[in-house]
């Protein structure tokens, strides 16, 4: 009874079969093993990925507030190392998130091949969920890629890193909250039972094998989780030395070794700032102005004033930091010498001709703080031109970009 079909092929049948075969050749969700790729692994890795993203988000928002302080906020001068710690945590959390995100995405990859349901309410829900996952993935990968590139000062894009990384951070955290809300029952069910247990509806119970390994030599769920934690730990160790001095010799992939002229790395060199021949001009004078009056100092006059020495870190937005011993004139002394109150806002202008952050506003709390210096020396030596010769600002708990180098003018605004 089949002979007719074989002898006389029906063209419409062939046409109808073709697209179906193509679709059938794509993998299906059922084609993947659910022993490892299930909610038990996904939710356990996801929990720590969520922690890493939350830490990166909170420290990132804090960094944004320290760099671009709104009027309602007064950034404290203590703890001295606050920005060093928050920004170090920011970069470590982002780096640790790389292996966590890779394993988590691997564990849910079969869902990529889920066939959409028939048109109707179910299809709408399916498409909305797909969209929210797409936004979350795009934002999460974007944040890790741009953040890691920025920490090595690599800018292969034309948009502004700071405003875009900040905007997409809010997209990522919103998408993450939506994702957790949608998956909450699955997460709860998976975390509420042992890692080997099956989670309905498509879950598979894992046979108890010996430590971390199945009979066929593959990883068990527990083995995969342990490997993920090891990879995340190695990620932290490999890079954290840029912000954690103890790890300097371990962190072979850190963006800086912590070495540099006078024992301190340089972020923007004198050459890049265009101050060579300007900042080292012997005719240089520091100008201090207050209420229409102005006073100038040459470097010898500044050296003749009472000097203070403090140990303070330079902590950069890229996550690296370095501690040095700074000697110079207290900012409060320079301000009170003009008859202004010690707690005054001071607009600091640099001689730099190129690049951003050519001026900074030192808030009154920082000006009055006895640790805030117009530094003339670092580690017992006259400031190197790359470190801001003839003088630079060094203040407690300040982002590095606001520790203005090659200072030309201080405008006191009581």
């Amino acid at each position: 009874m089949c002979s007719g079909r074989i002898l006389v092929p029906h063209p419409p049948t062939v046409l109808a079969v073709k697209p179906a075969t193509l679709l059938d050749r794509l993998p299906k969700v059922e084609d993947f093993s659910y022993r490892l790729r299930g909610p038990q692994v996904t939710s356990r890795v996801g929990r720590w990925l969520g922690v890493a993203f939350a830490v990166a988000f909170l420290t990132g928002v804090w960094s944004h507030l320290q760099q671009d302080t709104p009027g309602w906020l007064s950034v404290p001068t203590r703890p001295v190392r606050l920005y060093q710690v928050t920004q170090g945590l920011h970069i470590i959390a982002g780096t640790v998130a790389v292996p966590l995100l890779l394993v988590k995405l691997w564990s849910v990859f079969p869902r990529f091949f889920q066939r959409p349901p028939r048109p109707g309410r179910a299809l709408l829900v399916h498409l909305l969920e797909r969209l929210s996952i797409g936004v979350l993935m795009a934002a999460a990968i974007f944040q890790l890629v741009t953040g890691l590139a920025n920490s090595s000062q690599w800018y292969p894009w034309s948009f502004s890193f700071r405003s875009t990384h900040y905007a997409v951070a809010w997209v990522a955290i919103t998408a993450l909250i939506v994702h957790v809300a949608v998956k909450l029952p699955v997460i709860r069910a998976a975390l509420g039972v042992p890692v080997e247990a099956a989670v309905p509806p498509d879950g598979v119970e894992e046979p108890r094998e010996h430590e971390g390994e199945t009979r066929s030599g593959g990883l068990t769920r527990r083995g995969l989780l342990r490997t993920t934690w090891v990879a995340a730990g190695l990620a932290a160790l490999a890079t954290a030395g840029a912000s954690v001095p103890v790890l300097r010799n371990v962190s072979l992939f850190a963006v800086r070794s912590g070495e540099g002229p006078q024992g301190l790395p340089v972020n923007r060199s004198a050459d890049a700032a265009g101050v060579v021949g300007i900042a080292d001009d012997p005719d240089w004078r520091l100008e201090v102005t207050y209420q229409g009056e102005s006073r100038t100092y040459d470097r010898d006059e500044l050296m003749a004033m009472p000097q203070s020495t403090h140990v303070l870190p330079i902590a950069c937005v890229e996550g690296w930091s370095a501690t040095a011993t700074w000697t110079g004139v207290r900012m409060a002394d320079l301000v009170t010498a003009m008859g202004a109150p010690a707690a005054s806002d001071v607009l600091v202008t640099s001689m730099q001709r190129f690049g951003a952050f050519g001026a900074s506003l030192l808030p009154e709390d920082h000006t009055a703080d006895p640790l805030t210096l117009l530094a003339l020396q670092v580690n017992g030596m006259t400031l190197n031109l790359d470190h801001g010769y003839p003088c630079r600002i060094i203040a407690p708990n300040r982002p590095g970009v606001w520790q203005t180098k090659w200072v030309q003018r201080l405008e006191i605004d009581a």
Binding site: F32, V98, P99, L102, V103, W106, F109, F112, M137, A138, L144, T146, L148, S151, S152, Y155, P156, S158, F159, T164, Y166, A167, V168, W170, V171, I173, T174, I177, V178, V180, A181, L184, P185, V186, R188, A189, P201, G212, S216, G217, G218, L219, G223, T227, A231, L234, A235, L252, F253, V255, R256, E259, G260, P261, P265, V266, R268, S269, D271, A272
Partner: protein, 142 residues
């Protein structure tokens, strides 16, 4: 939802999350509109590019490697090879910016001042060595 019924406490948590997500999402949208203005194409390429590279390259390659390890490799070698690949692969991936030294500046020798490529070769050699030793010991034992 996925066959697991939402309990009352789940609904409460969801409500709290919604209360946070709505203003956060609106703020995110306003920031993104500002950051992307005049540069939508470039920003769009960077946002979609990560997903395309993951779904188009990283994910299929790791699925293929997983299948290969469970078919080609002898049983005692499967576990050490998988563990080695996950650790080595993720370190290699996030080290791309320093390995390429793309941000290096001629006037600033204090940036990207480590022998990254040598370290990476050492990491690769160490991974191969560890996987080899563990694999051999396990082959002998079995």
């Amino acid at each position: 939802m996925n066959g697991v019924s939402a309990t009352r406490s789940t609904q409460v948590v969801r409500l709290v999350l919604a209360v946070i997500a709505v203003p956060a999402g609106l703020y995110a949208a306003s920031l993104l509109l500002e950051a992307g203005s005049g540069n939508w194409l470039h920003l769009g390429i960077w946002l979609a590019g990560g997903v395309l590279i993951h779904d188009g390259v990283i994910a299929p390659v790791s699925v293929a490697l997983g299948i290969a390890s469970m078919t080609v490799l002898p049983v005692p070698w499967r576990l050490p090879a998988t563990v080695g690949l996950i650790c080595w692969g993720s370190i290699t991936l996030f080290s791309i910016p320093v390995l390429g030294r793309f941000g290096a500046l001629p006037d600033n020798p204090t940036l990207l001042d480590r022998p990254y490529f040598t370290s990476w070769l050492a990491l690769t050699a160490l991974t191969v060595l560890l996987v080899g030793v563990v694999g051999l010991v396990r082959s002998r034992r079995s």
